[in-house]
């Protein structure tokens, strides 16, 4: 079957998860008070960011490590590092 949604797409992938997040929202208040669009929850290709009313949930385990959130956050509010060596996403094909 060809995938129909992001859950099915993410399910195709292999991750070697670290126990510690490589993505950090620096100040959740900035998301709440200054950022009505919360655009990272829209453009992130892996739906890593989910707004939970008062804070941003960061599902770093499914991150593709593309860097869009670091560049696209209008408030430079995301600290972005690489996962520990050998961890994170493992592309098997393309």
């Amino acid at each position: 079957m060809s995938t129909k949604n992001i859950e099915e797409k993410q399910y195709l992938l292999r991750f070697k998860c670290d126990t510690k997040s490589h993505l950090t929202v620096l100040d959740h208040d900035v998301c709440m008070t200054q950022c009505p669009d919360k655009i990272c929850t829209v453009f992130c290709p892996a739906e890593v960011y989910k707004w939970e009313g008062t804070r941003m949930q960061v599902g770093y385990e499914g991150c593709h490590e593309c860097g869009s959130c670091r560049i696209g956050c209008p408030y430079q509010n995301i600290k972005w590092e690489y996962p520990k060596g050998g961890h994170g996403i493992v592309f098997r094909l393309a």
């Binding site: 079957m1 060809s2 995938t3 129909k4 949604n5 992001i6 099915e8 797409k9 993410q10 195709l12 992938l13 070697k16 669009d37 655009i39 829209v42 453009f43 290709p45 892996a46 739906e47 593709h64 490590e65 593309c66 860097g67 869009s68 670091r70 560049i71 696209g72 430079q76 972005w80 590092e81 690489y82 996962p83 520990k84 060596g85 050998g86 994170g88 996403i89 493992v90 592309f91 098997r92 094909l93 393309a94």
Partner: protein, 431 residues
């Protein structure tokens, strides 16, 4: 492991591996550091590898490298909601040696290529992140990694750490990129039996086809989609500048599903099995976004130096060639025992005299023009489709009258003066 190497290369993609391979082949002591489980584990590409720059490194590589299909046909689609205006070129000369380009799956290809560097004498360390360059007296003298006791030293460090290049940013070679300097691209590998691919794309076993799709593939936003044939799978993907994605509030995976379900695309992938989903940034800032590429004891190559020609979908070939040019400078620097910025600027000079920067310079205004004036993708693609439909529909109207109607339609939609302005502006951006 010696404490100090002649050269440390950060990142085992096309740029880094080219550099490591060439340095090792010329007798230098090379350390190649890769953060993934294996080379290719973090790397993503739509899938076209050009022959020329790879062949400069490894003659006849197609006889042993894991390639998918030599591309013998390139199609370009201007796509509207229910139609496509297409043109393309198919030539059997591309199907025989020395070939023009190939589709590849990078996870396999990058592993093979890195193995060649190792066979040439480079030391490859995987699962290792370089966290920063070690700078002493204004000179890069090594790197710090996330391994215990993870400091390694070298005469010169080559940064091939990809589009995000945190390392060259740390050195102050560039500021954080703007959302209009990168394209966010997502793709899927869709498995499909070989016979189906051959039938649907009118190919034989060892022939490949690429389709670049403009217009409704990105819902009129600045970007493109692509559909490439592998041996027994298709790569289908779509990307726009991150700024367009943000402005249009699009979810990239929904755009991909929109493309997959588009009536012009769907029949090609029908019955296929999704095998992998991948997201990556492409550096598309072009000429004006190229950072400082050489400093004291350090050189920047490939995506890390923003070396991508988005108009011609060239990137990995530029990466490889920049890696080769960097290696040539490093080898000369090693011979002279001089790793200063003025010495390593020989690489910069070679880069700026090569097709790489010349091509980026040619298109230096293209991305900016098409981003600032969205009518090219949003309005002209549908207009051209309407024009083709009108012109080729036989309804008793004389052809000369049809031509007049088509021009009248265009100018009434956008105004004569604006159409002329648009044409001039587009010509200027790509001339």
């Amino acid at each position: 492991m010696p404490e100090k190497f002649d050269v440390i290369v950060v990142g085992a993609g096309p740029a880094g591996t080219s550099c490591a391979y060439t340095c090792a082949k010329n007798g230098l002591n090379v350390l190649l550091i890769e953060r993934g489980e294996y080379p290719g584990a973090k790397n993503v590409m739509g899938g076209v590898l050009y022959r020329q720059q790879m062949e400069e490194l490894i003659p006849d590589f197609w006889k042993e490298a894991p390639l998918e299909r030599p591309v013998i046909e390139q199609r370009f689609w201007m796509m509207d909601k229910e139609s496509v205006l297409s043109f393309g070129y198919k030539g059997l000369e591309w199907g025989v040696e020395p070939y023009n380009n190939f589709t590849v799956l990078r996870a396999q290809f990058d592993q093979w290529f890195a193995k060649k560097a190792v066979e040439a004498g480079a030391l490859l360390i995987t699962e290792t992140v370089v966290t920063e360059c070690i700078v002493e007296d204004g000179k890069v003298v090594g790197v710090r990694t996330d391994r215990p006791d993870g400091e390694v030293f070298a005469d010169v460090v080559v940064l091939a750490d990809g589009v995000n290049s945190l390392l060259s940013k740390q050195l102050g070679f560039h500021k954080e990129f703007r959302p209009d300097e990168v394209a966010l691209t997502v793709m899927e590998v869709v498995n499909l039996p070989k016979d189906k691919i051959n039938d649907r794309f009118n190919l034989e076993d060892n022939q490949g086809c690429t389709i670049e799709i403009f217009g409704d593939s990105t819902k009129g936003n600045l970007g493109t989609a692509f559909l490439y044939t592998n041996k027994e799978s298709l790569n289908i993907g779509v990307g726009t500048t991150l700024s367009s994605m943000i402005k249009a509030k699009m979810k990239p995976y929904e755009l991909l599903d929109y493309l997959k379900n588009h009536p012009m695309v769907k029949p090609f992938i029908a019955g296929g099995e999704s095998a992998e989903y991948l997201a990556h940034l492409i550096p598309e800032g072009g000429y004006r976004s190229v950072p400082k590429v050489a400093g004291n004891g350090v050189i920047v190559v490939g995506d890390a130096a923003q070396l991508v020609n988005a108009i011609h979908r060239e990137g990995s070939n530029m990466a490889m060639h920049s890696g080769l040019l960097a290696a040539e400078t490093v080898i000369e620097a090693h011979r002279l025992g001089n790793f200063s910025q003025s010495m390593l600027n020989n690489y910069r000079e070679a880069l700026y005299n090569s097709f790489i920067i010349k091509d980026l310079e040619k298109y230096k205004d293209a991305a900016h023009t098409f981003e600032k004036y969205p009518q090219y993708f949003k309005e002209y693609v549908p207009m051209m489709n309407q024009a083709a439909s009108k012109f080729f529909t036989v309804d008793g109207t004389p052809k000369r009258d049809k031509q007049k109607q088509i021009i009248k339609n265009m100018t009434s939609q956008r105004g004569t003066l604006r159409v002329l302005q648009d044409l001039y502006r587009a010509w200027k951006a790509v001339k």
